[in-house]
C-alpha cells in the first residue's frame, strides 16, 4: 500500500495516550492505554480495576437469595437476565422446576430488557459517532419499557424481580396491555432509527469495514453475543441451550457474516425485531398458575458444581456455583460476556484510527461493571 511506503520513509514517533478512566467513549471507568503513531493505533491495552467491587467474593459470603441482588449491579442494563442466570443455577442445584407462568414472564421481561439495553446501545452508538440526537430518540422508547418495569416490580434499572424458585410478585394487571402498546409503538420507531442512522452515508462510511473480527478469532477469543453473531458465529444461548420459555417460541438468530462494526450494528437492530416477535408470541397466552415454588427460607444447595448460561444483551453470561452443601456457595464465578469481548479489542483495532476505535467500542456495547466485577 502507498500509505505504508510513506510511513516507512517518514520517521515518526509513537506516543501514549490514556483513554479513560473517565473518557466519554468508554461508558464507564474503562482505561485504555493507547500507543499511537499520529492517529494510527499501534496497541490498545485495557487496564481494569477502577470499578472493582469484588462481587464474586461477596457472593461467597451471601446466601443464595442475596446473591441475586448483587448480579443486577454487574450488567445493570440486562439486570433481569443476570438475575435469571443465578436463579436458574440455583434452581438447577435444587432440582426444582418453576411454574410455566414464571418461565413465560421471565422470558417476556428478559426480552423487554434486551430491547431496552439495545435501545441504550443504539443511542450511545450514535452519540459516539457524533450524532447526539439518536440518544434522545432511543431514550424516549426505552422510557416506556422502564415504566413497565417500574409498574411491575418497582425498579427501573436494577430489577430484583427474580428469586430462586420463581418471581418476587405477580405482574401488574396493566402489564399485558402496556407491553402490547409498547410493541405497537416500537414497530414504528425502528424504521425511524433506520432513517436517522442506518441509511446515513457518513454512518456507513464510519462503520463498514471497520474493526473486522473474523469468525475464527471470535471463536478463539471466546467472543459471544451480538459481537460474535456479527462475525457469523452462531452463539445464541437461547437457540443452542434454551432456558425458560425459549424452547416454545419461534425466532431467528441474528447472524451477519461481515464481522465489521456495521454487521454488529445490524445484528442488534435485527435482535430488537426478533425480541418483539418473541414477546408477541408469548404475551397473549401467559399461563395461569403460581408465581413461586415453595423453597426453604435458607436455601442450601447440595454438594457439587452447577453451571448455568443465559444470553444477556451483551452475550453469554455463565454462572458457576461450587457448593459444599452450606447456605452460601464455596466458590462462585461469573463468565461475563463483556470481559471476553474486551479481550479482542486490541487484536482488531491495531492499525486503525482513533475514531475507528471509538466506533468499534460502541459496537461492542461494553458495560464496565460487567467486565470489572
Amino acid at each position: 500500500m502507498a500509505n505504508q511506503d510513506l510511513t516507512t520513509k517518514i520517521k515518526t514517533e509513537e506516543y501514549f495516550v490514556n483513554m479513560g478512566p473517565q473518557h466519554p467513549a468508554a461508558h464507564g471507568v474503562l482505561r485504555l492505554l493507547l500507543t499511537i503513531d499520529g492517529e494510527i493505533i499501534k496497541n490498545v491495552e485495557p487496564d481494569l480495576g477502577y470499578i472493582h467491587r469484588s462481587i464474586e467474593k461477596m457472593c461467597e459470603r451471601d446466601s443464595y437469595q442475596q446473591i441475586v441482588h448483587l448480579t443486577d449491579r454487574m450488567d445493570y442494563l440486562s439486570s433481569h437476565i443476570n438475575n435469571e442466570a443465578v436463579c436458574l443455577a440455583v434452581e438447577k442445584g435444587l432440582e426444582i422446576e418453576v411454574p410455566d407462568r414464571v418461565k413465560v414472564i421471565r422470558t417476556i421481561i428478559g426480552e423487554l430488557t434486551r430491547i431496552a439495553s439495545h435501545c441504550l446501545w443504539w443511542g450511545v452508538m450514535g452519540m459516539d459517532l457524533g450524532a447526539l440526537t439518536t440518544y434522545f430518540y432511543a431514550f424516549r422508547d426505552r422510557e416506556m419499557i422502564n415504566d413497565i418495569f417500574e409498574e411491575t416490580c418497582g425498579a427501573r434499572l436494577t430489577m430484583n424481580y427474580n428469586i430462586p424458585g420463581g418471581l418476587m410478585f405477580d405482574v401488574h394487571p396493566n402489564f399485558v396491555n402496556r407491553t402490547k402498546e409498547f410493541i405497537k409503538h416500537f414497530k414504528t420507531k425502528i424504521p425511524e432509527y433506520d432513517r436517522l442512522l442506518t441509511g446515513n452515508v457518513i454512518f456507513e462510511k464510519r462503520t463498514k469495514g471497520v474493526g473486522i473480527l473474523t469468525k475464527e478469532d471470535a471463536i478463539s477469543f471466546g467472543v459471544t453475543g451480538p459481537v460474535a453473531r456479527g462475525s457469523g458465529f452462531s452463539s445464541d444461548v437461547r437457540k443452542h441451550h434454551p432456558y425458560s420459555a425459549y424452547d416454545r417460541v419461534e425466532f431467528k438468530e441474528a447472524l451477519y457474516t461481515e464481522g465489521d462494526t456495521y454487521a454488529r450494528y445490524k445484528v442488534r437492530i435485527m435482535e430488537m425485531w426478533e425480541s418483539m416477535s418473541i414477546i408477541e408470541q408469548l404475551i397473549d397466552n401467559i399461563p395461569e398458575g403460581e408465581i413461586q415454588t415453595t423453597t426453604k427460607a435458607v436455601i442450601k444447595l447440595p454438594k457439587g458444581e452447577y453451571y448455568q448460561r443465559v444470553e444477556t444483551a451483551r452475550g453469554e453470561l455463565g454462572v458457576y456455583i461450587n457448593s459444599t452443601g452450606t447456605k452460601n456457595p464455596y466458590r462462585l464465578k461469573f463468565r461475563s460476556p463483556g470481559f471476553s469481548n474486551l479481550s479482542v479489542l486490541n487484536h482488531i483495532s491495531k492499525g486503525s484510527k482513533i475514531a475507528d476505535l471509538v466506533a468499534t467500542m460502541a459496537s461492542f456495547d461494553f458495560v464496565i461493571p460487567d467486565i470489572d466485577r
Binding site: 506516543y15 495516550v17 473518557h23 466519554p24 467513549a25 492517529e39 450514535g126 452519540m127 459516539d128 459517532l129 457524533g130 450524532a131 447526539l132 440526537t133 440518544y135 434522545f136 430518540y137 424516549r140 436517522l196 442512522l197 446515513n200 457518513i202 454512518f203 462510511k205 464510519r206 484510527k353 482513533i354 475514531a355 475507528d356 476505535l357 471509538v358
Partner: protein, 355 residues
C-alpha cells in the same frame, strides 16, 4: 425619506462633531463604531448559542432552556456570567504565553471579519473594494489560535485536535475560496456591496448563475461547515475521541472565547453565503423596496438565520466523519468538482447563458 437607523447614527455623528474638534470626533466615532460592533458580536454569539440549544432541543424532543427569563431568553447571559466568574486555571506545564494568547487569535479574527459584512446599504463598517478577499484572508487567521492552543496546552488530546484543525481548516479553505471565486467570476467584483447591487437587477446570484451557482452553493455550505469546525466535521473537538480536543485545558472565559468564535464564524459563513448567493439585504422580489423606513438588515438577518438553521440541522442529524474521510472528501471530491465548476461558470458567462 431617510432610513430610520441611518438617521439615528447620523444624529449621533452630527452631535459628536458639533461638540469636539474634527480629529477627536473622528476617533470618537471610530471607537463608537467599534463598541457597537463588539456589542453586536457579543449579542449575536450569545443568542446563536441559545438558538443552537433550542434547535437541538427541537430535534431531540426536548424543551431546551426555558427557566431563565421568558422562554429561557436570558439563559446564555447567565451562562456567560458564570463563565466570566470562573477561575482561569491551567496546568503547570503549559506554555503560558501562547496558551493565553491563543483564544485572542481566534476571537480577533472572527471580530475583524464581521466588520466588512454588509448588514444593509447603510450598515457596514468597512466597504472596501477587496471585501471578499479581506474576509478570506482574515477568517483564516483563526486556525493559528486553535493550533497554538492545542500545542501550548501540553496535552496530547489537545495536540491531536489542533493538528486535525490545521489540516481541516487549510484543506477546506481551498474549497471555500474556490466556490467564492466562482461567484466573483459571475459578478466581476470583490466588493461585497457591489456584489449585492448586481443582484438588485438580475435576481439573486443563485438564480443568475443557475447550475454552476447551485453547485458552488452546495460546495460552499459543505466547506463552510467544515471550516467552522462544526458537525459533521467537528473532528477538532470530537468529544467521544479526544475528550474536548484543542480546548481540553481551557476553562472559564478562555473556553468561552473559543466557543463564541465558533458561533461567530458560523454567522460569518452564513453571511457570506447570503451575500454571494441570496442577494444580501435585498428583499425577495423587491417586496419592501418602496417602504423607505423598512430596515433592510432584517432581510439580511432572516436569510442568515435560515442558513444557520441549515447548519444546525446538519449538526444534530449527522454522525461525525473520520479524519481520512474528511480529507478524501475535500481533496478527491470537492476540490476537483470545484475546479471544473469554475471552468463551467466561465463558459456560462462567456456564452452569456446566465439568466
Amino acid at each position: 425619506m431617510m432610513n430610520l437607523p441611518l438617521s439615528i447614527t447620523k444624529t449621533i455623528s452630527d452631535w459628536v462633531y458639533s461638540i469636539m474638534p474634527e480629529s477627536a470626533a473622528t476617533v470618537t466615532i471610530w471607537v463608537l463604531i467599534a463598541a457597537a460592533y463588539l456589542a453586536l458580536f457579543a449579542v449575536a454569539g450569545l443568542y446563536l448559542v441559545l438558538l443552537e440549544r433550542k434547535v437541538a432541543a427541537w430535534f431531540q424532543l426536548r424543551l431546551g432552556p426555558n427557566r431563565v427569563g421568558p422562554g429561557g431568553l436570558f439563559q446564555t447571559m447567565a451562562d456567560a456570567l458564570k463563565l466570566v466568574s470562573k477561575e482561569l486555571t491551567s496546568t503547570i506545564k503549559v506554555d503560558k504565553f501562547l496558551f493565553n494568547l491563543a483564544p485572542y487569535f481566534v476571537i480577533v479574527s472572527a471580530l475583524i471579519s464581521i466588520s466588512v459584512l454588509p448588514f444593509s446599504r447603510h450598515f457596514q463598517a468597512f466597504d472596501i473594494n477587496i471585501g471578499v478577499f479581506f474576509l478570506l484572508a482574515v477568517s483564516s487567521i483563526g486556525v493559528i489560535g486553535i493550533l497554538l492552543g492545542g500545542w501550548a496546552s501540553n496535552n496530547k488530546f489537545a495536540l491531536i485536535g489542533a493538528m486535525r484543525s490545521g489540516l481541516q481548516t487549510i484543506s477546506y479553505e481551498l474549497s471555500v475560496g474556490l466556490s467564492i471565486l466562482t461567484m466573483v467570476l459571475l459578478t466581476g467584483s470583490l466588493q461585497l456591496s457591489e456584489i449585492i447591487e448586481v443582484q438588485r437587477t438580475g435576481g439573486w446570484l443563485i438564480v443568475q448563475g443557475h447550475i454552476p451557482a447551485i453547485i458552488a452553493f452546495m460546495i460552499f455550505m459543505i466547506a463552510g461547515t467544515a471550516e467552522t469546525n462544526r458537525a459533521p466535521f467537528d473532528l477538532v473537538e470530537a468529544e467521544s475521541e479526544l475528550g474536548a480536543g484543542f480546548h481540553t485545558e481551557y476553562s472559564g472565559m478562555k473556553f468561552a472565547y473559543f466557543f463564541l468564535a465558533e458561533f461567530i464564524n458560523m454567522f460569518i459563513i452564513a453571511s457570506i453565503a447570503v451575500v454571494l448567493f441570496f442577494g444580501g439585504w435585498l428583499s425577495p422580489f423587491g417586496i419592501t423596496d418602496n417602504i423607505a423606513w423598512f430596515p433592510e438588515s432584517i432581510w439580511f438577518l432572516i436569510k442568515v438565520l435560515i442558513i444557520i438553521f441549515l447548519m444546525m440541522w446538519f449538526r444534530w442529524t449527522f454522525p461525525r466523519l473520520r479524519v481520512d474521510q474528511l480529507l478524501t472528501l475535500e481533496w478527491k471530491y470537492l476540490l476537483p468538482i470545484n475546479l471544473v465548476n469554475i471552468v463551467i461558470m466561465a463558459i456560462v458567462i462567456w456564452l452569456n447563458w446566465t439568466i
